[in-house]
Amino acid sequence: MRIMGNNAVEIKGLTKKFGNFTAVDNISFEVRKGEIFGFLGANGAGKTTAMRILCGLSRPTSGEGTVAGYDINTRQEEIKRHIGYMSQKFSLYPDLTVRENIRLFGGIYGLRDREIEEKTDALLGLLEMRRERDKFAGALPLGWKQKLAFSIAMIHDPELVFLDEPTGGVDPETRRRFWEMIYEASESGTTVFVTTHYMDEAEYCDRVSVMTDGKIAALGSPEDLKASYGAADMDEVFRTIVGRAGKEDRK
């Protein structure tokens, strides 16, 4: 059964415990269809754990919700078919060529050989990587790898794509171009769920949430957050929220 609504993600009371440690503590939020949702938080705040649950990689200890209309507790396999995922750890096989990487993931998502060939051709043109088609993915510059990995995560036209710190380690210009790709995906109707440590990227999101200690401390559009925290930019918002949580810890 698929619940179709206006939200790509709906989460209520999501909790994940590892022994005595509560990584994700009773969080609830929605991600609207077609929006770019920034998922921020300090290291160890529980972002990755929450995201793994949403992708169907791990099961919540308690709580309920849907991703792309499928229940996170019971329909994980369907979720996987309808989402794209790109992680900070490289998702490309370095010992396969650019073309072979595209072919592998196309095949995995059930595309036929001919569809894969068309997709490959279109993708290589779009990425301006025609000349690199037979190069090993491991030999590409980092920025190119990231663009290719993103395109591969989008190869089956998913309704929702998860990007886990997609732009780590590259220069601002390369990051800006990567965000152009994210905007294009968003304009064509794909919902984007992105984690990042760059606060200028947070400004590009439609809405952001900030996690501290397993809880969502703030959620709203960058403008609203800046206004309510009386901050000039997202960087200040982030430091105010995370700094406050740090002080509470020390008490």
Partner: protein, 367 residues
């Protein structure tokens, strides 16, 4: 989906800088180098002789010893003390002392004044040297009674030995099935587990886990290339053994493949288990090393299981390599059929079902 995954695995296998070469080098090394290196045959035993008789008979006895090819006469000593000094100096492994009156006493049948001393610092070498020397003496006595028509010195000494299945006690022939066993185990258990762990390390396994690829399909596709290689190695080894040494499998070759298949199932489960409990290649290597040593030493490949103490024999019952090695030797050397060695199949199946169950359970949990 399977097509694309298999394509990936085979491409990665053949692109690896080491793996394809290893798959080729393995059978060649195993069949052309190791049989000579692991030979337990003892040759070139240094022999010192104290011949106080110096009769025709004593010379005949010594000739018997030296012509066997196992002994190298290092010195004819004048006294037992001199010979002992040679042994102390590690120049002689064995001493044969022939007392004066040997010729006459053997002729009369009143006695056989020959002494044998063997250096048994290396127990195996020593006891085999003693055995060989006794055999030489025996042969001398037999010759003597046949050729000369003389009555045998002592009718009580009448040992006739007959070796079955490997009549020349050829150690190479004995080791070839066992070497295949070790090679197949390495290829089917340890290499795939390293491969899975390396995908864990690089993070690509996580990417696979968020796709609709089922976990079992992913793992099976990972293992298939190694299974293909395992059967290739088995075939290559059998061909090399035939082409180079002229050895052929006495039994139906099909049974070799059947037992290899059983072993592969057990080993695949073991490989998966190791990769489930290891987060990086280094950890996996330690575990592999641990298992490899226990498997090989407790398998009966080098030392017979039957001569182990009871508790050690009990441990070997848990070792899949013991059953596989036993089956391979039985089929290859004796021509056994599964009806004869059903217990090996049963052992592999029992261990296999436990391991497969455990591997699947822990694999599910590890995600």
């Amino acid at each position: 989906m399977w097509k694309y995954l298999l394509e990936k695995e085979f491409k990665q296998f053949f692109r690896d800088p080491g793996l394809p070469r290893m798959a080729l080098a393995f059978p060649v090394l195993m069949m052309l180098v190791f049989p000579f290196a692991v030979s337990m045959e003892i040759r070139n035993i240094n022999l010192a002789v104290v011949d106080s008789d110096r009769s025709e008979e004593s010379v005949r006895l010594l000739e018997k010893c030296t012509s066997s090819g196992y002994f190298r006469l290092v010195s004819l000593c004048g006294s037992p003390e001199e010979a002992m000094r040679l042994m102390d100096g590690n120049k002689a492994d064995a001493i044969v002392t022939i007392s004066s009156g040997f010729g006459t006493e053997t002729a009369l049948g009143t006695g056989f004044p020959v002494g044998i001393k063997v250096n048994t610092v290396n127990g195996t070498r020593g006891s085999i040297a003693a055995q060989y020397l006794q055999n030489c003496v025996m042969m001398y006595l037999q010759d003597r009674s046949q050729h000369d028509g003389l009555p045998a010195v002592s009718q009580t000494v009448d040992i006739s030995e007959k070796y079955y299945f490997n009549s020349l006690l050829d150690y190479k022939l004995f080791m070839i099935p066992a070497l295949i066993v070790m090679g197949i185990t390495m290829i089917t258990a340890f290499l795939p587990s390293l491969n899975i762990v390396s995908e864990k390390e690089s993070g690509t396994i996580e990417q696979m886990n968020v796709t609709p690829v089922s976990k079992s399909a992913f793992i099976i596709c990972k293992m298939i290339p190694y299974w293909v290689i395992a059967f290739f190695v088995l075939t290559a080894c059998l061909l090399i053994a035939w082409a180079v040494f002229g050895y052929v499998c006495r039994g139906n070759v099909l049974w070799l493949y059947l037992y290899t298949f059983l072993d592969i199932v057990v080993m695949a489960a073991l490989g998966l288990l190791i990769s489930n409990y290891s987060n990086n290649a280094q950890q996996a290597m330690f575990v592999i090393w641990f298992f490899a040593v226990i498997f090989i030493l407790m398998s009966g490949i080098f030392t017979p299981v039957a001569s182990m103490p009871d508790w050690a024999r009990a441990i070997t019952c848990l070792n899949p390599m013991r059953y596989y090695a036993d089956a391979m030797r039985a089929v290859y050397l004796k021509g056994s059929t599964p009806a004869d060695i059903w217990y090996d199949a049963a052992g592999l199946a029992a261990i296999g079902s436990v391991m497969v169950g455990w591997a699947i359970a822990s694999y599910r949990k590890s995600l």
